[in-house]
Amino acid sequence: MPIPREAIQTAQQFAAEQAHPDKQRQVYYNTLAVWAVNDYCQLMEIDTDLTKSDSWNRLVRLCSNVADLEITGLGKLECRPVFENTNFVYIPAEVWEDRIGYVAVAIDKSFKEAALLGFTRAATTEEVSLSQLQSLDELLDCLELPVEQPLELRANLSQWFDNLFEEGWQSVEELLGSLYSPPVAFRRAHPAMVKRAKRIQLQDRSLALLLDLNKDDRQNVRIRAQVYSLTSNTPLPEGLALMVLDETGEPFLESQAGTADRFIQTKRFQFIEQPEEDFTVKIVLGEESVTEAFVVRN
């Protein structure tokens, strides 16, 4: 992408706000990278909104190494500059979450051209080798607006082991109290085990979805889902189904409530193939259903 004069002027203006030379340089290059990707999106008729981007927010720019571009209806795309004579793209830890993905942008030393080198969906290290990047075709696939699918907040189960829980996920004791029947062993907290529960309303029934996680010796996360009735003395409605769907939406586990079940559960499952796995839990009662989306990073 050619770098127009207005981009340079904006980058200078943003850099001038900074008090330290290193930070000036950081902001300057970040701004050019975001500009280039924004121009590219404009060519491809992909809607963007700079006003919602942190990189265009003076205060956040000051306190964070951020180069995001808000893609309307999809979320944030991070645009990271690649410096001369390096073969990696630097992705700071504070942007590893809540991103559609990361585009590496090489800015030539005469500041005339910005090359979009490649794309990666996830970042878990600060330095990503350029050889590991995928083509822009992959980026374009990610920017495809899904048809009628709301932006899901995917709970990140790997972080549950670090005590970081998304809103709505409470401790089992808090939500279920005496309604919960834990397995006989392990009533104490254990670092490689996490259990959390979330209130679910389905056809005016109060239910709790429980996720029970543990890590085996090889750090693989093993998961079991359970659904409990939250109304004491009332069992689960007959026919209530608990399903687990893989990332393509295909169900691979299912459990159904009989006439007097206080809870139902799935078998324990795990994903070991990809570094990042998406799955969904779906609870169905008659015509209605509720889904919760999750991601596990191995």
Partner: protein, 208 residues
């Protein structure tokens, strides 16, 4: 060296896909790459060249199959795609050149030593915004920053992390080693718990 036929076939393919479709975008991408690689686009070394080139790319994308801004879309019977684009490019360059000539002193190319032109921050007072934010974090009037911390680590509060990440920022690796808490946990907490509070502060201060 790709032939005119190659380009026309690729263009025909692009136009078969609906506008805004991923397939069209991917093929448009390929077309642009091939145009660049051919070296047949007019080049010149003026400060406004890139401005004109960006406008030309936009012209390509908007008028290749449907005429958005042109009178008619690209017509391979009339000319090669290069002739079509170069003609537009050179018109834009002419416009810019005329604009420059009308000014008594043409503006300097902002690319010449762009970072060098910035005032050395050490020569002047630290900008007020940084100091204001530092003050806000340190004083933390409602105690919100002090009381928001990583679960299980009362010492790792937003207040502590935000101060360390103000320029000159302490690296995440260093913070990881110092506090014995993984970089991803620290950064995730910062991104999800501290930055939103910063944004809220900015809004209430009328910074945007």
């Amino acid at each position: 060296m790709r032939s005119d036929e190659f380009f026309n076939e690729l263009i025909e393919k692009i136009c078969q896909y609906p506008r805004g479709s991923t397939q069209r975008r991917k093929h448009m991408n390929r077309l642009m790459q091939n145009i660049i690689q051919s070296g047949k686009l007019w080049r010149e070394n003026t400060s406004y060249y890139e401005d004109a080139l960006q406008q030309t790319w936009l012209y390509l994308c908007r008028n290749l199959c449907e005429a958005d801004t042109a009178e008619e879309p690209y017509n391979p019977q009339k000319s090669s795609v290069f002739t079509w684009l170069n003609s537009y490019l050179r018109w834009r360059l002419r416009d810019f050149r005329n604009q420059e000539q009308q000014k008594s002193t043409p503006p300097a190319d902002p690319r010449l030593d762009p970072l060098g032109n910035l005032p050395d921050p050490r020569d002047r007072n630290i900008p007020p915004m940084l100091e204001e934010i530092r003050y806000w974090i340190e004083s933390d009037p409602q105690g919100e920053l002090r009381n928001t911390h990583i679960r299980g680590r009362q010492d790792l509060t937003c207040q502590v992390l935000m101060l360390r990440r103000l320029p000159p920022e302490t690296g995440w690796r260093e913070l990881e080693a110092e506090y014995g808490c993984s970089m991803s946990t620290l950064a995730n907490f910062y991104q999800r718990q501290c930055l939103p509070r910063l944004r809220k502060r900015g809004e209430s201060m009328g910074y945007f």
